[in-house]
């Protein structure tokens, strides 16, 4: 593997522009390697965010050639067959600078979706017995590995069309808690995800499911919430 990559990198805030760089191409090179090369060798003022480099922390997500991806585990070979890369911050979030998106809105919506666990037991009580094979536990299993990278939020058009929309990650988190038999916040949680910005706003584009780097299906959780909200409304408990 040799030659150069032609890389266009977003600079500035939302009203910024792309800046071009030539970056040496290596075998097994990740997009994060490319960004790091630019920051260390070509322009030290480039701002970007990463931590673990191994697909666990969810902090390095960016828009690569128009598609939201985790850059640490995105190989250049996979996305830049013609030797060209366009790297921008995640969409649908305010840009702090260059490749750094402001994630506050993303995580605030997790809180609005009642994404935190509320139980009744104390440390003095015994463990809850939850069968791993139960339907509810398996529903949790399907969504619990979210790393909060924001790729689904960036990929989702409904987030752009409806600023109140809670987004795939927050709704998926709510769905895992709806299925948690130990949790006691569910009537309140279902109300939180039933409004204009809740699960009913999803257009089922499945972009979140298509782009999730952990191969999760937030759409499955959102569909589950739609059913749960409908049943609660019919029972008069919403």
């Amino acid at each position: 593997m040799s030659g150069n990559l032609s890389v266009r990198v977003w600079r500035g805030r939302a009203d910024g522009a792309f800046q071009s760089f030539e970056v040496p191409r290596y075998a097994s090179q990740s997009v994060l390697d490319v960004v790091t090369h630019i920051q260390r060798k070509l322009d030290a003022t480039l701002a970007y965010r990463y931590a673990c480099r191994v697909g666990m922390c969810g902090s390095c997500a960016m828009t690569v050639n128009g598609v939201a991806r985790w850059t640490c585990r995105t190989h250049v070979d996979k996305v830049a067959a013609d030797g060209r890369l366009e790297i921008a911050p995640l969409h649908h979030l305010p840009v702090i600078r260059d490749l750094v998106a402001d994630m506050r809105e993303f995580f605030d919506k997790w809180a609005r979706a009642r994404g935190s666990f509320r139980g009744t037991k104390t440390r003095h009580d015994g463990f809850a017995a939850v069968s791993p094979a139960s339907r509810k536990r398996r529903a949790i299993e399907a969504g619990i590995e979210c790393i909060g990278c924001g790729v689904c939020y960036s990929a989702c058009d409904t987030v752009a069309w409806n600023p109140d929309y809670l987004g795939p990650a927050a709704l998926q988190r709510a769905w895992t808690l709806v299925n948690d038999v130990r949790d006691t916040a569910n009537p309140e949680r279902l109300r939180a995800v039933a409004g204009d910005g809740g699960c009913g706003a999803c257009h089922t584009h499945l972009s979140c499911t298509e782009r999730c780097p952990k191969q999760l299906s937030p759409t499955a959780g959102i569909a589950g919430l739609k059913r749960a909200v409908t049943m609660a409304a019919l029972r008069g408990t919403l």
């Binding site: 910024g16 800046q19 071009s20 128009g66 969409h91 840009v95 058009d157 298509e210 759409t219 739609k226």
Partner: protein, 121 residues
Amino acid sequence: MNSHASALGNDVRARNHPAWWAFLVHRLSGIALAIFLPLHFFALGQALEGAAKLEVFLRWTDQPLFHFGVWGLVVLLAAHLAGGLRLLALEFLPWREWHKTLAAIAAGFTLAAGIAIALAL
């Protein structure tokens, strides 16, 4: 620095996957069918004003362009029906990784309906 800044929003590169195309077909077919509805009610309204008036209208529509329009309408109906059933299956049946299969089935149904009507016309 290059001057050709692009807006930071999703474009076709982000949307280029089967489920988004299925959404677009469903939405556009729905809008097109809604636009057709007034014409449909107009034709039915002619029947209320007597058989002769309806006959004049029906004879006026008996031309190749209208036949092509009827074919288009059936294709739109087939696409919208298949797309709607696809969504119901996705959201109400137990979740499985079959959304691309469902989109393919919906596309196949629409194609089959289009060919069948074209042959019948």
